[in-house]
């Protein structure tokens, strides 16, 4: 392969990786806050993609502009899931981790079925986006606008997240809640409310990822499965509890996947990601930036 081709693979891997980071950010945030692994993460993403698709059909507005609206809708959805499902899973004394996993696993099947019932199992695509088929051509390297847009949204989101976490009272309360639930209850922070907000925020991040993906990816009830496994590996690789670790891990995963597909036969490309995960955790048992 020529140098340009390799540069192309690098650029594509980087942009895909930034999007992987964005997809994983919500999962990572929720885990960091309350140590819950959301097995319905892929279905949250599916819902966000359908929401984007539906809004585009009804309003005709460009999906890129709709991202904040989708994020807001997903915020409400995430908080509702917390109030209706997760809250009960948190009350459990015994065996909490497994109860959470399988409560959200049940939710994921329910959401897939409901999506098929409501939206039909057809594959949908957004065709009207301004970004849709545009490509930036820089010195022999093609930078498709949808991916470039996704990468930029990802960077902006993580930047915003950093500000929220460090500069706002809400962010400090979130950080405090995750450090010590008992202590924050004493100073008058309502844990339940913080968790609901955390789930809302996590789902809103998924909403942004969904809006970004819906610009160029197909939408159907099972679409979450294509991304959820990578999201779990990304979160673990970055280190559970480290939101910014998810960004770093996402980029690494995107690059490793892209280059594995060049070096090995492409049908084996996920082996690159899996091997990367194992090597990293054998060397650093808490992932790249894990806190424990």
């Amino acid at each position: 392969m020529t140098a340009t081709a390799l540069l192309q693979v690098f650029a594509s891997g980087l942009m895909t990786g930034l999007i992987y980071g964005l997809v994983a950010s919500g999962l990572s945030l929720i885990f960091g806050l309350m140590e819950v692994v959301n097995f319905a993460h892929g279905e949250f993403l599916m819902l966000a993609m359908f929401a984007t698709f539906g809004l585009v059909v009804f309003t005709g507005i460009d999906p890129g502009l709709l991202a904040p609206l989708v994020a807001a809708a997903m915020f409400v959805f995430g908080a509702a899931v917390y109030a209706l499902v997760i809250r009960f899973a948190m009350r459990v004394e015994t065996n909490r981790g497994m109860v959470q996993i399988f409560a959200t696993f049940g939710l994921s099947i329910l959401m897939q079925g409901a999506a098929q019932y409501l939206f039909s199992p057809d594959y949908r695509s957004i065709r009207t986006s301004w970004l849709g088929e545009r490509t930036l051509h820089v010195g022999g390297v093609f930078l498709p606008w949808p991916l470039l847009f996704g990468g930029l949204v990802s960077i902006a989101t993580f930047g915003g997240l950093y500000l929220v976490m460090t500069r706002t009272a809400f962010g400090k309360a979130l950080e405090a809640t995750r450090e010590d639930q008992g202590a924050v209850a004493l100073v008058g922070i309502d844990c339940n409310r913080m968790f609901a907000l955390g789930w809302g925020l996590g789902a809103a991040l998924v909403g942004l990822a969904g809006a970004v993906l819906a610009v160029f990816y197909y939408v159907f009830p099972g679409v979450g499965a294509s991304f959820s496994l990578i999201a779990y590996v990304t979160v673990a690789l970055g280190g559970f509890g480290s939101v910014f670790g998810a960004l770093a891990a996402g980029i690494v995963v995107g690059l490793v996947e892209a280059f594995t597909a060049v070096v090995l036969p492409p049908e084996l490309k996920s082996l690159g990601i899996y091997a990367l995960y194992l090597v990293i955790v054998f060397l650093r048992p808490a992932g790249l930036f894990g806190k424990f």
């Binding site: 049940g106 019932y117 779990y232 899996y274 194992l278």
Partner: protein, 331 residues
């Protein structure tokens, strides 16, 4: 722990006798159940229920008793299914031998995986098992010698216990799955009572404390992983004979890894009856909702199945088994 007091020892012994009596009754009833359940469809559901119960019990040994949550047991199941199929279809080795070979192979793989992975904690361990199982799936999908994505079709032969092939009868598969369930149940209970069982529970409760008390934490985990992988692989071999056709997705996808943990968790994790109770609810639920509602293609069967899994998980977090009243708390 019971003290040396005579009365306590006596009641402990009688509780043990009662436990085995109950087990004998339950298993005998299950063995005779094909006499009452004549419908091929329901017998088919029964085979799957018993098989999932057996494999979930195997998962329970590592996940429930030793506290190491594996999301990669589909790998061992696949190894068993593939070893049995390849040996039978390519070299004519009877499936009974194939299952044992598969079991031994799975133990070897489990120990190989366990060696580096048991240093990992909690979710890092779970994701590592998942990642390794997925790697196995990818490799099988591209390994031409075992049929790659095309899978392996068992030849069409006459009914025989030797080859474990029966054209229409389900009863033999019910009995074989039940035998595997009994074996894994006995292994769980007997090892659970032994020194290893205490070690496993100590590792589960607090590995650091256990280590300081002289428990061989690493060896405990390895032993649990080996026993667990063996029975899972034998289950895979039975499944392959039952289905008479396998391909990578049909025996080792991620779905299986979840479905093996699910009955134990929903029935009662770390208990000898949890997996059977969980499977007895989950498997028929999945089969009935698909068979009677899935034909519409509306997705409603998935909504109901998902909602019930969620409801059971949240309503009985300690497992369905806790609905059964107990005379006294378990030790």
């Amino acid at each position: 722990m019971p003290h040396g007091e005579a009365a306590t020892a006596e009641s402990f012994r009688s509780a043990r006798v009662r436990r085995f009596l109950v087990a004998a009754l339950v298993f005998a009833a299950l063995a005779l159940s094909p006499l009452a359940i004549r419908s091929v469809y329901l017998q088919n559901v029964l085979v799957l229920t018993l098989l999932y119960a057996a494999v979930s019990q195997s998962w329970n040994i590592l996940g429930g008793y030793c506290g190491q949550i594996s999301l990669g047991h589909g790998l061992y199941f696949g190894i068993g299914a593939y070893a049995t199929s390849v040996l039978f279809v390519t070299w004519g080795i009877l499936p009974w031998g194939g299952m044992i070979v598969g079991g031994v192979l799975a133990v070897a793989v489990a120990l190989l995986i366990g060696y580096p992975c048991f240093r990992l904690q909690g979710h890092y361990f779970a994701i590592a098992t998942l990642v390794i199982a997925q790697s196995g799936l990818v490799l099988m999908q591209n390994w031409d010698f075992v049929g790659a994505a095309r899978g392996i079709q068992w030849p069409f032969g006459p009914d025989s216990w030797w080859t474990l092939q029966f054209a229409r009868a389900k009863t033999p598969y019910i009995e074989v799955s039940l035998a595997l369930l009994v074996a894994s149940w006995l292994a769980t209970v007997l090892i659970g009572e032994s020194r290893w069982g205490y070690w496993w529970r100590a590792v589960k409760d607090d590995a650091l404390a256990a280590e300081s008390l002289g428990v061989e934490v690493f060896r405990s985990k390895m032993a649990a992983a080996g026993v667990s992988a063996f029975f899972t692989a034998v289950g895979g071999g039975v499944y392959a004979a039952f289905l008479a056709y396998i391909d990578p997705d049909a025996v080792m996808s991620f779905r299986f890894s979840l479905l093996f943990a699910l009955p134990a968790v929903l029935g009662g994790i770390g208990t000898p009856w949890g997996p059977l109770v969980g499977a007895a609810v989950l498997v028929p639920l999945g089969e009935f909702s698909r068979s009677y509602l899935g034909g519409s293609g509306s997705g409603l069967d998935l909504v109901i199945y998902g909602a019930l899994v969620m409801a059971v998980a949240l309503a009985r977090p300690q497992g369905l088994l806790s609905l059964v009243p107990r005379r006294r708390a378990a030790p």
